[in-house]
Point group: C2
Chain length 343, copies 2
């Protein structure tokens, strides 16, 4: 399995490739399912989740499938209400504002409430070719806590920032609870058959550099150590500047996901040769001509030439208005150039 072999630093003959949000709006077959079903119904119906997870695999034969789900199904299973609104995005109610709100969160019986996730993992794994890895995921404790405090995605996450600066001990309390829940959520995915898990720290950029370790990286570290007995490799992916990579690497994840705003050459130096790096093409590069895509793929592959330890990916999720043909160009280029060992 190319993805796992790359993570294990075995000799491989090409660079594995998958794309964050690969099951998404840019695919006509995905849009036709979304015309009939809303986003959360797809997440909650194992047959539909399986179908959309497999769509990009059929088209591009990516080296990994990633479970189609939403990170906010976890807070929902803990007792909050979750709604998706096409304009506002996700809304979580009631938002966490007081310590009693944290005490009301349920961390028991998550396996039962999230059975539809385990079922989807089972079904996907059963339909997926043996040489393609299945990746499970969760939001990081900090990113989930941010959604839960703010109630929804927002420009500045001012409520989260207020809590961070005015009631840091309350934020730590919530982060502890979410760490426990994230570990359970990932364990149930692992038991159902995922072979790799990724933590998405989508709101990592809300924290100034000197607070990132205290409020986010350290909790991701706890998740890694609490999953150590499973032997399943963990990918840590924080969206935002370079200092995120620096903080996360000290928790020795198997893989670090690199945002497109970070410099892959520096990431390589900072992470050292033991940690595999994933990323980090600018998603907007898929708007370019085939020639520009070829060049940009070459630029990235060159950084890892003769050393390996690279999983090709975008540095952030694929944009909804990308031409699916350009994804073919991208995947072909990654495979051809990495097999030929182009300069």
């Amino acid at each position: 399995m190319l993805l796992l072999d790359t993570i294990d630093r075995k000799a491989v003959d090409q660079t594995p490739v998958w794309i964050m949000r690969q099951a998404g709006h840019y695919l006509p077959e995905y849009r036709s399912i979304r015309e009939k079903h809303d986003f959360l119904s797809i997440c909650r119906t194992p047959e539909l989740a399986t179908e959309v997870t497999l769509q990009p695999i059929r088209r591009y034969q990516f080296d990994a499938a990633i479970l189609f789900s939403d990170m906010l199904v976890l807070p929902e299973a803990m007792g909050l209400q979750l709604e998706y609104n096409d304009d506002l995005g996700p809304q979580v109610t009631p938002a966490i504002r007081r310590e009693t709100d944290i005490k009301n969160l349920q961390t028991e019986g998550l396996g039962e409430k999230l059975r539809y996730v385990s079922q989807a993992v089972n079904m996907i794994r059963a339909s997926l070719s043996k040489d393609i890895a299945l990746i499970g995921f969760s939001g990081s404790p900090f990113t989930l806590a941010s959604y839960m405090i703010e109630g929804r995605a927002s420009k500045n996450f001012r409520m989260v920032k207020r809590v961070l600066y005015r009631k840091p001990e309350m934020l730590h309390q919530l982060l502890e609870v979410m760490t426990t829940a994230v570990v359970q959520f990932l364990r149930l995915q692992i038991q159902a058959g995922v072979q790799v898990v990724q933590l998405f720290d989508s709101w990592a950029g809300l924290l100034p550099p000197h607070l990132y370790d205290e409020f986010s990286a350290s909790y991701q570290g706890k998740v890694i150590s609490q999953l150590a007995d499973t032997g399943v490799p963990v990918i840590l992916y924080g969206r935002g500047p370079m200092h995120i990579i620096e903080s996360l690497k000290s928790y020795k994840p198997a893989v670090l996901g690199v945002d497109w705003q970070a410099d892959m050459v520096k990431a390589r130096t900072i992470a050292g040769s033991k940690i595999v790096l994933q990323g980090n093409l600018d998603p907007a590069c898929l708007y370019a001509s085939a020639e520009t895509i070829r060049k940009e793929v070459g630029r990235l592959l060159k950084i890892f030439k003769g050393q390996g330890g690279h999983i090709f990916n975008l540095g952030q999720g694929i944009l909804p208005d990308v031409n699916p043909d350009m994804v073919h160009v991208l995947v072909d280029e990654v495979r051809e150039q990495s097999m030929r060992g182009d300069d």
Copy 2:
């Protein structure tokens, strides 16, 4: 003048302080003017622009006033329509989409069209105490071009990214035109009396690290060299990750503004001792208690202890819902701690 002495690396007995967007919504006296006049009318009426520029100076005796205006009055003077909408923010029409759109931009007669800016600078300088510096500003060529191509602020600036990857030569053409215009805009402010100018590269974060120099930093470098004969120091401020600081420092600005997402300790190392640094408290830190603000001010001042070369500022504009009393706390702490030389 404390601000200019600091920039000139003269011995000073305290750290100068001002705040980006210091004339803004958090001030009740600003809101009461905004109740009667819309944002652009204030920009276009020298008496009103003068009044709001001076409001925060009266309250806090900041070491610098910054001209109250908007970076988009420049594209407006070049022939585009500018509107402000409370929900969508600024809108520039028609958006630049073709090479002919660039040819239609006017770079002649800007002094005449922007006379209200010169008049405001004159009036502010006349009312301002001699020991307070007056800062003029412009958007960077890249940030202005981004607004002009997109037509308005947006989450991903997809039109800009399309142009960047599909028609880079067209983007360069627009950047050349905007560089010429920015130099003229800053010259007219300098002639009217500003003593320092700041370039705001607010959308610096749109560019991946390996493209930042080509599409943004190099044009800011041109602005610096074309203003060299004025002797007026230039502050370059790019919003976003650390690599922006690294690119900008090679153009030897007098001052580099540091975003709150960047690490000031590293910025100090990267910039070297000749370049003065400005920033970079997280704006949300003003939500905190006086004690937390004191600690955070101390953390920043310590980095420059015994070396100087620091202008205290937030790392981004002040948030509209901050309590104005906490700005007093901040300013007092910066002055007391830097005078005492606290550890």
